[in-house]
Symmetry: C2
Subunit: 315 residues, 2 copies
């Protein structure tokens, strides 16, 4: 699935002497074998990033500073830097059964969204919907989105408007919940790995987020987190939040972990970094960690029924 | 103990609009108060680093890229970068009792070493030794060492030669063990916080290290770690180790944690990053993690009785 010859060809063409490789967790074990192939064939020094990697926003800039070029695997282009080459990784899994199981729950005009792993089969999904007498709609996202119909955990800009239902093809719960919170039409998640299809339920996550917001209502001291991952740095937003919060400090963090948050005596945090952190890790944090959207709700700048997932939008 | 007015004066003089603050763990809680003072007095935006910080080698280069200048607290200058201002932090603790308790264990000609927190009292230690009829010796270290007599956890270059005993003034076990492993004369550790003095024992640590080396004797696949902290990057050393190791990959890591090491299927690691990691965290790692010195022993390039702590030396 990873075309090692192509990687060697690119590194050779660029006459790279020191090459970096960066993988998301699930692909890291492929690193040594690819490193060895590059070393053997073009004699370059290869360095594999051993730090966590959660997305295309999460370029290892420290490693980038030590190498001539960096191959970043498993995610689509987000950041324009000539020294970074994105090598996408597609899941070769049959999506037909999952889409067919979704059909009874879909309306007539169906928006299609997915993660980058399934982008190559969006054409096939459209075809299946047409065969079933539906009208598929695929939209282009903003500048952070490489392909039509593609979602990021922090960007739902490719979600089509004017449809009567949305079909999410992929695994996991975070992306479809984010889509469902951004639209009034039903979102149906079809998982190609299990072939299951289900109506996306945001009830539980909303209860959890309202609980976090309620706990933060009395916060006096705030910490405003700026993420250090290159594609997550939102200092201007952090400044704006700090002004609103009053008694607040801006704190930069690379990996947001419970122990790092304990280093400071604050009553609540607002995270302008990856929006997933506040939501997925909520149970591990001892103080409320809100997204900027939730902070606005707590401060009365947005209505409580306007809860949505935080997005990092492009142009 | 921290002169906030002086910090404000420096930031103001440099007309800094965005100021970074970086503290070791024990001082992090002072961050918000200092941030507020700087913001109130000169109107700058202040960002506190929330990531771990273990030494002067551990400059937050991500944050440095976002600010006009960075104040780094609690450590002495190690890296020359005009944008980084080191603000040292001294422990105001009486060392007389600890030194007096050490006297019966000391020889005639006594080398004095300490960590940066106690550097201002080295003169007082010399005086106490002279009063007791001894000859104190204080030496200059290499370019990584800011003060005569100062140790780092990775640099014992200020240890005097030609003495018949060494007096280490400070707390903790790591520094005096490293000194003891680098010399044949007895090392006496005097802890100013408890007033206790003791002969430094390296028996237990040597047993642990020999056990790790023995476990690594059969290793086929090696991971060679390059530390991403700015003052810990030893790529040339990692390259040399990789050549010797044979089947090896170079892996860059910012924070060396057990779970990050599990991402790769290797039999043993050699860490060219902070030497303390391999030693202090040994019990938490599921595979042996050796220092470069220990790797040389395992590979027969150094004798087993030549075990010493790994050092990162300057010029």
């Amino acid at each position: 699935m990873i075309d090692v010859d192509e990687i060697i060809r690119i590194a050779d063409e660029r006459k790279a002497r020191v090459v970096g490789l960066q993988f998301p967790e699930g692909l890291k074990r492929r690193g040594p074998e690819i490193a060895k192939a590059v070393e053997d064939r073009i004699g370059a020094t290869v360095i594999i990033s051993g730090d966590p990697c959660y997305g295309a926003c999460d370029i290892d800039d420290g490693l980038l500073g030590m190498v001539d070029m960096l191959f970043h695997f498993g995610h689509s282009r987000l950041i324009d830097d000539d020294r970074v080459v994105f090598i996408e990784y597609y899941h070769e899994v049959d999506i037909d059964a999952a889409v067919r199981n979704a059909l009874p729950m879909l309306g007539q005009k169906v928006g299609i969204v997915s993660t980058v792993q399934h982008v190559p089969v969006i054409g096939r999904i459209e075809q299946l919907l047409i065969e079933a007498g539906r009208v598929p709609v695929v939209s282009r996202g903003d500048s952070r989105i490489a392909y039509p119909g593609q979602l990021l955990g922090c960007n739902f800009s490719a979600m089509p408007a004017g449809v009567d239902s949305i079909l999410y093809v992929g695994s996991g719960n975070f992306h479809p919940m984010g889509v469902q919170l951004s639209t009034n039409v039903p979102v149906i998640a079809a998982d190609p790995f299990t072939s299951e299809a289900r109506r996306v339920d945001v009830e539980k996550i909303m209860r959890q987020r309202y609980a976090a917001m309620t706990r933060a209502l009395d916060a006096k001291k705030w910490g405003v987190i700026v993420g250090m991952k290159p594609g997550q740095r939102r200092l201007d937003l952090a400044r704006r939040i700090k002004e609103t919060a009053g008694d607040a400090v801006i704190i930069s963090i690379r990996e947001i972990t419970p122990d790092r948050l304990l280093s400071f005596k604050v009553d609540a945090y607002v995270s302008t970094a990856c929006p997933r952190v506040a939501i997925d890790d909520a149970a591990r944090f001892s103080v409320p960690v809100l997204t900027p959207v939730e902070f606005d709700i707590v401060k009365g700048l947005r209505r409580w029924d306007e809860l949505a997932f935080d997005e990092i939008r492009g142009d």
